[in-house]
Point group: C2
Chain length 372, copies 2
DNA sequence: CTGAAAGCGCTTACAG
DNA sequence: CTGAAAGCGCTTACAG
């Protein structure tokens, strides 16, 4: 390695590692020769009337001592601290990192710190994160992911949420949940229905659906959209084409196998999220099935990768960053005593290269599935 | 929408929104008829000797009151709270979300909460996040991204880091930084050099390099690797083929333009991260330049998308999740008074479809750049 | 404009 | 095994 390339290296003085308690407001007050009350007013209550010379002396002392107020002590007096906790299913899922980024961008303006927690949709993890956030008196709690169908989880969750609201914090849902519709989000059913319509418009009538985990409220909404889309096109719903799946690439690949092993022909696959669609795309490719020539594939969410794969994925765009941003705004307004209205944002169909008119012959190969 | 589909909906009772202060240890003690000292010992000091009946009465009271200890009050007595702050450049960059996930997975086992902060490489944002984390007495601070070349930032940062270590917390670097090498990370220079070597092995000698932002320490290390790789292959370094760029897709696309507008022929493009390589791939495709037939492209990091694009991207795999996991472990051991050794993890060359033997004629088109 | 004092919710020597 | 009391670092009526 190019050691020695960097002349600055030599100038670095090792940082001492002694335990050295930080300066407190008492230290600052002492050094400035004032009461802690006055010192506190100078460093924290910018608008409080303090004589110019006193103010300057306190500021000088604070600078000298590298004083930074203890947020814990301060938080003990307020009802909550300026921290917003975001519960996601998995931060490596681009859907969630985009939402979190939206929250961050809005929150840092308001001096809020963002705590991200990946629950992996495990009730106990979700619960313990919420409990921790509650114990820290976080000012806002944002559920980015969908609620789960788990009565015991939801019971306990309701208790926590009541307690959290009880100490004055805001709780915001960005996805359908146990207690109802999102505060800020999209109409998932309408979004999926619009993609069904688009596929029907291309000539498809045998549309398979990779529905995601049925215990997720959001997956149920998207499934409703699928049925609604079919219904308004006059296409009968065929249960054998509507699969229950996970919400990741592996599940999408497995679902393709399952469809091919079934005996119902199909000309298009609509997935309840992009990850599923991406997995389907991969597996189809491995099997030598051409997209969109042999079968069309569409996703939902429009994560970044959707536009980069080949063929690029037709999907439904969700304004993820905006959902995060408005989610924090919703919390902020709630905190301010406002009662903000629900915001349902529009989705948008994005047609790329993975969809086309259906093949002459619907897909229904006689292949043994490779796994499962 | 399928309103009414869900019979549970009707059963939901609206949560009361009154401000209701949470039960404190005093409330629990009172209800149980014991002192706060005893109550505290039962709920927090599992190993402290308390009579079985007393213990049961306290637990019962805590349950009745839905008692959750106030982490702020507790933190005021300890030197720090069980929170680990992770400073990343951008959480929507898969590189970072993967690392954060690694930290989370390790941290949740230790009862630590993860705070993620996207600095966008803006010194003031980074500083204010670190300040906030310090003010909250976070137990660990992990810098996931590279240090910046900004003397004023680094001055202030050193003060904060000394203060943070001063109150007993751990500070960990996962990438090269102002004060030296990462505590847990990879040998970036060696990784890039190994990819140069692989390209040379395919027959390339005119290898362009998209180097990332020069003020990032990690970009400098990767650039060193590029030079070192060339040197050991006996290929002279040509400055005109080594571009300074950003670290995202747009920058990769622009760099392609720049290379094509230059007068130095090249048969391969090696990018200092995958996002750059992905952007280069896109632009080349738009220009009708075939990869790898006309030019080979290689990246660095191996983010998920790298394997999904077409042609799939040859790259250098970094164990990102592992880096995050070990990063937290490093912090944990430091907190335990240990002095853990630095961990430099191996990188791995991943050859996919974007690289091949060089074309007969090196690329050096006479095209006007489309933008810039 | 300034200060003395109480108190937020907890834990922990110290004493019994 | 249990409790009274001090104290972590701050803010805020209250009094002057």
């Amino acid at each position: 390695m190019a050691v020695g390339d960097d002349p600055r290296r030599a100038a670095i003085v090792p940082v001492p590692v002694l335990i050295r308690p930080l300066a407190s407001i008492t230290d600052v007050a002492k050094l400035a020769g004032v009461s802690t009350a006055t010192a506190s007013r100078v460093v924290s209550a910018a608008e409080y009337a303090v004589s110019a010379t006193t103010r300057e002396r306190v500021l000088e002392a604070a600078r000298t001592l590298d004083y930074v107020p203890n947020a814990l002590a301060r938080g003990l007096l307020k009802s909550y601290i300026p921290v917003v906790g975001v519960i996601v299913h998995d931060i490596t899922d681009p859907y969630f990192s985009e939402v979190v980024r939206g929250v961050e961008d809005a929150a840092s303006g308001g001096g809020f710190l963002v705590i991200t927690c990946s629950s992996d949709r495990v009730p106990d993890r979700e619960l313990s994160y919420v409990r921790l956030l509650r114990s820290m008196r976080a000012g806002a709690l944002i559920f980015a992911g969908s609620g789960l169908d788990d009565p015991q989880l939801n019971d306990e969750m309701r208790r926590h949420i009541a307690a959290i609201r009880g100490y004055g914090a805001a709780v915001v849902h960005l996805s359908p949940h146990d207690a109802g519709e999102p505060d800020v989000g999209v109409d998932n059913a309408a979004g999926v229905a619009s993609m069904v319509e688009a596929l029907v418009g291309l000539g498809h009538r045998q549309i398979a659906f990779l529905g995601g985990p049925p215990r997720l409220h959001v997956a149920r909404h998207r499934r409703d959209g699928y049925r609604r889309g079919l219904a308004s096109a006059g296409i009968p719903f065929d249960e054998r084409l509507a699969l229950e799946t996970g919400f990741n690439r592996e599940a999408g690949a497995r679902a393709v196998q399952e469809l091919l092993a079934g005996d119902v022909p199909f000309t298009a696959i609509l997935a309840a999220n992009d990850l599923l669609a991406l997995g389907a795309l991969e597996r189809l490719q491995e099997l030598g099935i051409r997209v969109p020539d042999d079968v069309s594939v569409a996703g939902f969410d429009d994560i970044q990768t959707a536009g980069l794969v080949a063929p690029s994925l037709s999907t439904v765009r969700l304004p993820l960053h905006e959902i995060g941003r408005l989610g924090f705004e919703f919390a902020e307004r709630t905190l301010a005593g406002d009662d903000p209205p629900r915001r349902i944002l529009p989705t948008e169909i994005v047609i790329r290269d993975s969809t086309a008119a259906p093949a002459r012959v619907a897909l229904q190969l006689e292949r043994a599935p490779r796994d499962e």
